[in-house]
Chain length 280, copies 2
DNA sequence: CCTTGACTCTGACACAGTGTCAGGGCCGAG
DNA sequence: CTCGGCCCTGACACTGTGTCAGAGTCAAGG
């Protein structure tokens, strides 16, 4: 018979935890003095305690440990739990690897440039979105003016058409691009001006395209502050970030732009989110 | 201006969390309607939110994020934080790797044997311990009877000496071994029978050796239930476990045995903890 | 037998980050 | 005016562990 302190020392567990295990019924003392309330444990219980710590060290929660220990789990079920645990661990390690890579990237940045980027680039997932849109073409990603020229005029028309047909927008305007070569080597791209519309009905002869933009599991995104003529800066920042963090952009650029704030009279105050789908 | 719901959608954060960030002062809404209490956020704040999520994704706590964001941290300090974070991450990954290895070992065990060892082997650390002891020699690890024969008689003598000199034991009896070859190739070992004595004073001419057993950072330990004649079973189990989990025993065996429960009349009820120091 | 110091008891609060629920305003569309 | 969808506050929950306060217990030594 050991007192709780001795037993805790033997099992390298804190007294607090032994009391907790008692409270949740995971490991009850072999004997409790009815007068003093003192807990007493036997040497044989050390085996149980060891099992608990072993299972806990595997990363199981106390709940799971309890299940594993006192409801004699079927082999198949046990295998299932282990597999699950394995998967959880593996996933967490993947995550940590990514974190580590990012921390390292930032450390490198500090060492080489003396300061750290404030972390404007963020990985996020993007849900599928039903939109109405109008489309045009532009000369290529390398021709920002061509993009602006061909994209901008679409919005007034789009808004007019939506209003005329009583379609309400449910979110900020979106632009997206895709390659549309008319012949190999051509860099022509299609530009789309879109508004999310939720589940709203759209008649067939409105002159509007109805499209559901696919969800994106991972996109590197950053806010662009200022005129879209300067968007390439933010685009470059994202590209660098993607590289530094060991991701890969999903080419060819299905990048999207979300116009979060676009005061018509002051282009320098625009706020746009640029989203670049990535893998890895 | 976005409502909290819109802003949450944009930042891929839950509404709950935005309110929390407000509460802890990490990210206050740009405007709060004094009448309704509604929170409103600007597009520009999305940048701040992004910074928060980016830092959080690096694994920083909200506290740390707050420090990083609003108390413009010195470069040196920032580097320190990143290094620390890096170390934490690395250490957690090491731990997870070990966990994963153990989970895998158990899965293999299940696949090949149809059941799982109940996890009696546990890794623990052992604190340094001051003991009094008597010593002898035995023919070698492969001669259990020789060990028993040479070790057992030491205990009665030890206890008698301790009693005579008024030295109180502060814990269970311990046996430990070390190689003591009289010539190369010889497998003779020294056997020690010891009792922990805490800080108690021991006079010089008691016939007792006073030794401080060194702490062990990691030992694979298991409980042995039953006669010490059968201890090799448990020893074997530990050895197998050490192997399966990618550790290495610190040779030559500085293994210790702690006699937790030893009813003198029933050897089959003995409970002994066997401790094998390991690395890795 | 009494004191003293080491242990133990219970019950509570704390941490971090997030979900969820209840009970009640607010607002825009019909 | 009502209804549905947001939004508000405040609260409780989870996990695992530390720590603290106030009180009881026990063994050893005077």
């Amino acid at each position: 018979m050991f007192s709780i302190g001795e037993f805790a020392g033997l099992g390298r567990v804190s007294v607090r935890m032994l009391r907790h295990y008692d409270a949740i019924g995971l490991l009850r003392p072999a004997h409790v003095d009815p007068h003093s309330g003192y807990r007493f444990y036997t040497a044989a219980q050390l085996r149980l305690l060891n099992r608990v710590t072993a299972l806990k060290d595997l990363g199981f929660s106390l709940q799971q440990v309890q299940t594993l220990i006192d409801e004699k789990v079927e082999t198949a079920e046990l295998r299932g739990m282990l597999r699950l645990r394995r998967a959880e661990l593996a996933s967490r390690m993947r995550q940590d690897t990514a974190r580590l890579a990012q921390v390292d990237a930032r450390l490198r940045m500090i060492e080489s440039e003396g300061h750290m980027d404030t972390g404007d680039v963020v990985l996020k997932s993007i849900a599928a979105m039903r939109v109405v849109q109008l489309s045009g073409t532009a000369a290529g990603y390398d021709h920002p003016t061509s993009i602006t020229e061909n994209l901008s005029p679409l919005y007034p028309r789009l808004m007019e058409l939506m209003e005329r047909h009583g379609i309400a927008m449910t979110g900020a305007p979106i632009a997206w691009y895709e390659p549309a070569p008319s012949e190999p080597g051509d860099e022509t791209i299609a530009v789309h001006a879109a508004f999310p519309i939720g589940e709203a009905e759209v008649g067939p002869d409105t002159g509007l395209e109805v499209v559901t933009l696919p969800p994106v599991e991972q996109a590197a995104t950053a806010l662009h502050h200022g005129s879209m003529a300067e968007a390439f800066r933010t685009g470059h920042k994202i590209a660098t970030w993607i590289d530094d963090n060991g991701h890969r952009a999903v080419e060819p650029g299905f990048a999207r732009e979300v116009y979060l704030d676009c005061p018509p009279d002051d282009f320098d105050k625009w706020v746009t989110e640029i989203q670049v789908p990535v893998t890895g």
